[in-house]
């Protein structure tokens, strides 16, 4: 538990020393302005509320991809991975602690997006279904952390991890249905959206601020949880494989 907390504190120090890691908190309001203007200019005030909340998912994905995803690889580049792996504290606990800390700016991103939408953009974002909202928000943060763990592990193995992470923003925004719901996407694309936890989460968030009942909330919550557990397990397996390979082949110092 102490290791987990140390990893958590370490990541917070990174945020203080490298404020550029928090850049989505600056771009989210601007995206909110753009999306809201597009809906108002398109004479669709009914879409303003959900559109103004879409930047939250952009921030969330960014934190999973760049903040969480690069945790192990940056240790490798900095030459600190050897010390971490050889220390008596569990390496996985350090990584989990650091990834847990990425939930803080991700959680703040929602508050920022909602407050900006409600009080600056004057968007109708009143939460009408609190239970669904709180449950989906919680499992979404869990799925984000699990996905970050998987990416952190995969990025060590992938030769083109930098290219992938720089390219994995808008394809996942489309597949996640964060602005345009999955139901509106072309039919051939829709099956590819279901393994992306963002698509279930975005549907639930839109439903939580809309009048009327939330369609199939249990299905959505279950899907996010299952995708999160799957990503977490896969991340754990890849992480232990990496550590075993690095220890047996002595590749730790190879960058």
């Amino acid at each position: 538990m102490g290791t987990l907390a140390a990893g958590f504190r370490l990541q917070l120090r990174f945020y203080r020393s490298y404020p550029d890691l928090l850049v989505p908190l600056l771009t989210a309001p601007l995206y909110g302005v753009v999306f809201t203007l597009v809906m108002r200019d398109g004479h669709r005030p009914d879409l303003v509320g959900s559109a103004s909340l879409a930047p939250f998912y952009m921030s969330l994905w960014w934190f999973a991809l760049f903040s969480g995803g690069w945790i192990i690889q940056t240790d490798r580049w900095e030459g600190t991975l050897e010390h971490l792996v050889s220390a008596p504290a569990a390496f996985a606990a350090v990584v989990l602690g650091r990834i847990s800390a990425t939930l803080l700016p991700a959680g703040f991103a929602f508050t920022e997006t909602w407050v900006f939408a409600r009080y600056v953009l004057d968007a109708p974002v009143t939460i009408r279904h609190w239970t669904v909202f709180l449950a989906s928000f919680t499992v979404t943060l869990f799925a984000m952390a699990a996905t970050a763990l998987l990416m952190a592990a995969l990025f060590v193995l992938a030769r083109n991890a930098v290219t992938f992470s720089n390219s994995a923003s808008f394809p996942f925004y489309v597949l996640g249905g964060i602005l345009v719901p999955v139901a509106v996407l072309p039919g051939w694309l829709q099956p590819f959206t279901r393994p992306v936890f963002l698509s279930w989460s975005a549907d639930l968030l839109r439903a939580a601020v809309a009048p009327g009942p939330v369609p199939h909330p249990a299905l959505g919550l279950g899907a996010i949880a299952v995708l999160g557990v799957a990503a977490g397990l896969a991340g754990g397996v890849v992480l232990s494989h990496i550590l075993r390979r690095l220890r047996t082949r002595g590749e730790l110092a190879i960058t």
Binding site: Y18, P19, D20, V23, L26, T27, L30, Y31, V33, V34, F35, L37, V38, M39, D41, G42, R44, L47, N160, T163, F164, N166, S167, A168, S169, F170, P171, Y173, V174, L179, V180, P181, V184, L185
Partner: protein, 264 residues
Amino acid sequence: MSNASVVRHAFRVGARDYSTIFTWKTWLGAWFVRVLAQVAFFALVGRMLGSAERTQYLLVGNAVLLAGMVGMWAVNMVAWERSTGTLPLLAASPTHPAVVLASRGSYLVADATVSAAGALTVAGLLFGVPLPWARLPLALPVLVLVAGSAFCFATFAGGLLLGFRSAQPIVTNVAVVTLMALCGVDVPVDVYPAPVRWVSSVLPVTHGLRAIRLILGPAPAWEPILVQAAWEALVGAGWLAVCLLSFHAIVRRGRRRGTLDHSS
């Protein structure tokens, strides 16, 4: 060494830089998928709004924005020279550093133009947007102007941010979304109050995008197209002039204080 020779060598260094970032496989399989998804993300909004006209507006706007977005990456170029220790050498050489930076970074303008033109074409086909394909090549020189204009703007910003390494990615990201918001990419500039419209008029992308919308419009009139393209060139030239002046001041201050090679 003549300027032509410097340009040739700097271009080769830039091409080598670029080849370490992308192979044609990663460019097509990762980068191009990303830029295509960016254009599709906004074009889908037009489809959601049920308007073919708005779909085309968003598709064209966001495709042209790509030229400005890639050009904006030049923010990091000056800092790269400093972190690799070559900035003091550039400052000490008889060739103006701007010649080297422009030649070495020209791959950004080329990439910006190809990314934007490619995304416009493929997204146009995917969404069935009735673009006048025969006139599309006329948009290419304007895309080069947009990318060049953003490149000059970004190099100026990069010089100002030389001592603030953490600020560079912040400025790049915020600037790209600001261009998206203010330059008529997703909504006409007319929706903004006069002071915002004025800011928009001195930013890269705004005039070039107007020219391309006119080229791809139903009845293109050449005079307004040329006027808008000329404005985009003028905006780029203005930022280049500001960039050269600021760079001169930065180098002079760095020489006086001996801080030119200090990393931040």
